[in-house]
């Protein structure tokens, strides 16, 4: 790890001032990802600006949504009674990630912006376009069991590893940003980029732009939402495939649905194709199968992760079927 300066920002505005003033500054949340990457010399910031004094509040919005401060810890968010009642998939997603110790440290802002777990990205002795644009990608013909099947490019196939982000993408959350040029908002589905030719550019954030909050819009069907994660051991492992799902029935018709996937996308993967194929259709097995096929048509697996296509298929069908039967039974999961 290189030597660095450390500042603690009292609020978002001050953090941005500090970031603009300093060379090669990085914001520091809980540090559970950034500090690891600094230890591996993958990240070498000259300055760390601690943003854990940003808002740690979770407040109600008028319409029945929530605004979550960027410095709210993962543990606090998962434990919030309103989240558990109105957006249970979010609590589930967070609790299925990392360990209790890490969740106590990790922040909402940091979780969204955590970087991929690709082993080649972490090891500076190997080639990685994300670390060093143009260097090549050792994962393509190497170990890529954990890598993406959606949104990949010939430059990079790394997955976005966050569980929480998958839930937020399913909920159509909005990200509140503050930067040198002022405040703005972004749909969370727009926050992360697919790698294309530039896997080093991971988000739409501008230089020095800061996440100050995440807003959850009201969403009635989210009360019966779920998050299911499949991984290589019972806990403390990243997703091979995870599914965030919810449905709303109108009689025997699927009135509305949200479906998002983790462990398979270069960004938290909203299953737009499947959703489109479900909305307004009869709630039958055939509908589910067709919708899931529609989504998987875009999958581009490699030898080491081909199994994810079948796993994602089975998991989406199992989860959607369960949501439908929950909805028929009055929504009790």
């Amino acid at each position: 790890m290189n030597a660095f300066d450390y500042h603690q920002a009292a609020d978002g505005t001050q953090a941005i001032e500090q970031a603009v003033r300093c060379q090669q500054a990085k914001y520091l949340g809980g540090g559970t990802n950034l500090v690891d990457l600094m230890r591996e010399t993958v990240e070498r910031p000259q300055t760390l600006i601690d943003v854990t004094r940003l808002s740690r509040d979770i407040t109600d919005t008028d319409g029945g949504g929530l605004i979550i401060g960027a410095a709210v810890t993962n543990a606090a968010l998962a434990g919030d009674a309103r989240v558990r009642r109105r957006y249970p998939l979010l609590a589930r997603a967070i609790l299925s990630g990392a360990s209790a110790q890490i969740r106590n440290m990790a922040t909402v802002g940091g979780n969204l912006l955590q970087r991929t777990r690709c082993a080649y990205f972490y090891d500076t002795a190997t080639r990685c376009n994300k670390r060093e644009p143009g260097a090549g990608c050792d994962a393509l013909e190497g170990f890529h069991r954990y890598h993406a099947i959606f949104g990949t490019s010939s430059s990079c196939i790394a997955t976005h590893p966050s569980d929480m982000a998958v839930a937020l993408v399913a909920l159509d959350a909005r990200v509140h940003l503050r930067g040198p040029a002022g405040d703005r908002q972004l749909a969370i589905t727009e926050l992360h980029r697919e790698p294309g030719e530039r896997p080093d550019l991971e988000t739409e954030l501008q230089p020095e732009e800061l996440i100050v909050a995440v807003e959850l819009p009201p969403l009635a069907m989210a009360v019966h939402s779920q998050y299911r994660k499949v991984r290589d051991r019972a806990s403390y492992a990243f997703a091979l495939v995870s599914v965030a799902s919810m449905v709303e029935l109108d009689g025997d018709t699927i009135a509305d649905t949200r479906l998002a996937l983790g462990g398979v996308g270069t960004k938290p993967w909203r299953a737009w194709q499947a959703e489109a194929a479900l909305r307004g259709q009869p709630a039958t097995a055939a509908t589910l199968a067709a919708a899931v096929d529609a989504e998987l048509a875009a999958a581009r697996p490699l030898p080491g992760n081909t199994f994810k296509v079948e796993l994602a298929r089975r998991l989406m069908i199992a989860e959607l079927s369960q949501r439908l039967s929950d909805a028929r039974n009055g929504g009790d999961a």
Partner: protein, 776 residues
């Protein structure tokens, strides 16, 4: 935990402990401590060092300090074969706090260390020169070492070193290397091929046949305490020269001293290693480059050094378990009797070490096949030398053998336990020796009953619980009994108790506790009156904590020392003593003194004997008897592992619901520490079955998951309730009637899980680990 037969009834308790006779001879007398009903032996005594460990009082190797100590950091190579072309250390040398940058260009002259299992004093993993040339032999080899005032400064300086390599072709792909495999000249000192009859013809003629290939991946050592040491070259007073003083995390202090003495060209009396606490060894805490480099750098810098490997560092410089590809072929008649048993295959190795992962070890003794052929080849690779890891050979070998047996049982439509029972041998099928103590079938039956084996569905896929398909599997566990030469014990007796000293090791197994217990029983003293000293190269003799042999090795030496002590004590008593005229073999140790066997009236306490002789203490030293028992019998521990697994029909996830081990390991000396050893081994077996795998990049020979985040071992939620039980039948031919219990727990688990998975869902996985993609 439970004993099959505790055999403990208060009234029949023998009063004292007579001297152990010649347990190693065919007609010899068993060690009386092995007898049933001995008070103290077998009791679940809590760890004597438990409080120190949980309160931080126990100091580990990386927690000692010397004045003026520097911190070390290593730079590891990033190619698998070739030369260092250029190495730029200027930035590193200019950084604050940096005291030394050592590379092959300035390292002191070091001799090549003797290799474990190749030289009698060998503790080293391989015979590569250590930082003496520009050659690189594996991806991860240390190529530079930095010493600085703080660890952070050392780490930062190490990161700033730039190394240019001239890479040369490297054999890093096992798939290619195995096509050029060779037969090693020996396997753990024995033959690399064993033939009984003509197995190939017998197989061809058999009515029922299984012939399958099983593969197991590389595994790395992940002891909770990463390797660390703190050392100093100490100037002895009055021109006595220099001594190398090392606090190490070691499971072989004496071998390490001997090897280091050779490396530095100094006398063994010039090196002193202590290792009072070790946070897990499992075969990995021997001598690797880091200790040698730390000592060399300390010499060069003229200052003490602490070197603590990072977790990644352990993966780069400490060898692990080699990958294997094994063929098991079984031929049987319609009653399930084995006519042919073939276990052969290839394991990765290097040309610089001598440990072909001995996967057919267990097969040598388990089943009564008419014709047997066992063989191993090695595939030479450019990789860090592989080494011992908990039950080397048996852990991965039983996965193959016991899976194949399950496949045969399935073919025959026979209960897998019944198939094993039908092939229970009278004598060791390859050596022809009688077994010293084999109660496998008893252990299997008791385990089956306790586990509810009769509930198992005979056909796969017969039980469900929601999405979960549920199955049961079993497998035989086995590990050899060993007692290596070299153990010497001292006993120092004072009016207040006794100190037993032996250069043995405590790596968390409970050695200090159990040996305190054993010594107390043997000397007729309460446990509080016994001090057990270990983990110090200056103590007498040499005992390796490996091969599950430490308990027997220490036992053998303490038996000899007890005889020496009693003989000495008798020589001190005068004609007025009630013991006068008795010979050592008429004596037993009881009630803190010596008494005549069978005569309660003739007794004198240690205190009285010492006082009458005007002695404040008495010190004896004795060597263990030669391990002749190993030539007289086939000596092994046995057990049966039972597993109930759930396989998710949607996702292929495997969850172990229940696990039970029923063991036959001689006399159990401490029910608590033994249960922990069994359970710990079984948990490691679960890891091997379901998730452990070193990701060795076949293109670069580089380990890509050198961290506990990416190298998966079981977490709490992966581990179900584990039950362990044992026969507690003493082996008449071993010290205390005991066998080691450290390694057997991991054996059999891989197959028990694979067999349960098959029984659950009908899918046979022959490639470890059993990850969900193999079950979709």
């Amino acid at each position: 935990m439970s004993a099959l037969d505790t055999g403990r009834s208060g009234d029949t308790q023998p009063a004292g402990v007579a001297l152990a006779g010649d347990y190693w001879r065919p007609e010899g007398r068993p060690d009386p401590l092995g007898e049933k009903g001995r008070s103290g032996i077998g009791a679940p005594l809590s760890r004597v060092d438990g409080a120190d460990k949980v309160t931080g009082g126990a100091r580990f190797a990386g927690e000692f300090r010397f004045d003026g100590m520097l911190y070390a950091a290593l730079v590891y190579s990033t190619i698998a074969n070739g030369r260092i072309f250029g190495i730029d250390t200027r930035d590193a040398e200019s950084l604050d706090g940096v005291a030394l940058v050592m590379t092959h260009q300035n390292a002191p002259r070091l001799n090549t260390p003797p290799v474990f299992l190749r030289a009698p004093n060998g503790a080293a993993g391989d015979d590569h020169p250590i930082m003496q040339t520009d050659r690189v032999h594996w991806n991860g080899q240390p190529v530079a070492l930095v010493l600085a005032e703080t660890q952070e400064q050392a780490d930062a300086a190490a990161e700033s070193i730039r190394v240019d390599y001239a890479a040369e072709p490297a054999m890093t792909d096992f798939a290619i290397a195995k096509t050029q495999a060779r037969q090693p000249d020996n396997l753990l000192g024995g033959p690399a091929e064993i033939r009984v009859g003509d197995a190939d013809s017998a197989l061809a003629a058999a009515a029922y046949r299984v012939d399958a290939t099983y593969t197991t991946p590389r595994h790395n050592h992940n002891a909770i305490e990463p390797h660390a040491l703190t050392l100093a070259w100490v100037n002895e007073p009055e021109g006595e020269g220099e001594t190398l003083r090392i606090h190490d995390a070691s499971q072989c202090v004496d071998l390490a001293v001997a090897s280091l003495a050779e490396v530095f060209g100094i006398d063994i009396s010039r090196i002193h290693i202590t290792s009072p606490f070790v946070g897990g060894g499992f075969g990995g805490k021997t001598l690797w480059q880091h200790q040698i480099l730390a000592a060399a750098a300390a010499k060069l810098a003229g200052r003490p050094v602490r070197l603590a490997l990072s977790r990644e560092g352990v993966y780069r410089v400490v060898g692990g378990r080699a990958c294997t590809e094994q063929r098991v072929a079984l031929g049987a008649d319609d009653r399930g009797r084995l006519q042919a048993l073939i276990h052969s295959g290839v394991a990765a190795m290097t040309r610089h070490n001598n440990l072909p992962e001995p996967f057919f070890q267990a097969t040598k003794c388990l089943y009564a096949a008419d014709h047997i052929r066992l063989s191993i080849d090695v595939a030479d690779m450019h990789m860090l030398a592989n080494t011992f890891m908990r039950a080397p050979g048996e852990s991965v070998g039983t996965f193959a053998l016991e899976s194949a047996l399950d496949e045969l049982a399935d073919q025959l439509g026979m209960d897998p336990l019944e198939l094993r029972a039908r092939n229970e041998p009278e004598r060791d099928p390859t050596s022809g020796l009688a077994f010293s103590s084999r109660h496998l079938l008893e252990a299997a039956r008791a385990g089956a009953e306790r586990f509810g084996w009769s509930e198992r569905s005979a056909t796969p896929g017969g039980r469900h619980d929601g999405e979960w398909q549920i199955g049961m599997g079993c497998a035989t566990a086995t590990y050899p009994y060993m007692r290596m030469p070299g153990a010497v014990a001292t006993i120092t007796l004072t009016p207040d108790g006794a100190t037993v000293g032996i250069a043995a090791h405590e790596m968390g197994m409970g050695t200090a506790t159990v040996q305190t217990q054993v010594a107390a029983a043997r000397l007729g003293l309460p446990v509080e009156k016994i001090a057990f000293r270990y983990g110090d190269s200056q103590l007498a003799g040499s005992v390796l904590a490996g091969g599950s042999q430490q308990t027997a090795a220490i036992g053998g030496a303490v038996i000899a020392a007890q005889r020496a002590l009693v003989t000495e004590l008798l020589s001190l008593v005068d004609e007025h003593s009630p013991l006068s005229g008795l010979s050592p073999d008429e004596i037993e140790c009881r009630d803190a003194g010596l008494g005549a066997i069978g005569d309660g009236s003739r007794f004198e306490s240690y205190r009285q004997i010492l006082a009458s002789a005007g002695r404040s203490e008495l010190c004896v030293e004795a060597s263990a008897a030669e391990s002749q028992e190993l030539g007289n019998w086939s000596m092994h521990s046995f057990g049966t592992i039972f597993c109930e697994a759930g396989v998710n029909a949607v996702t292929g996830e495997v969850r172990i619901r229940r696990l039970l081990g029923s063991f036959d390991c001689g006399r159990i000396l401490n029910a608590k520490t033994a249960a922990s050893q069994f359970r710990g081994g079984m948990i490691m077996g679960l890891g091997m079955a379901l998730m452990e795998e070193t990701l060795f990049d076949a293109r670069s020979g580089r380990v890509m998951n050198p961290s506990l985040a990416d190298y998966h071992v079981p977490v709490q939620m992966d581990v179900p309730e584990i039950e362990v039980m044992w026969t507690d039948i003493p082996d008449p031919h071993t010290p205390m009637g005991a066998h080691g219990v450290g390694e057997i727990g991991i054996t059999g688990v891989g197959a028990a899980v694979a067999n349960a998975v098959y029984n659950a869902c009908g899918k046979r996985v022959r490639d470890l680990p059993i990850t969900l993609d193999k079950l979709l």
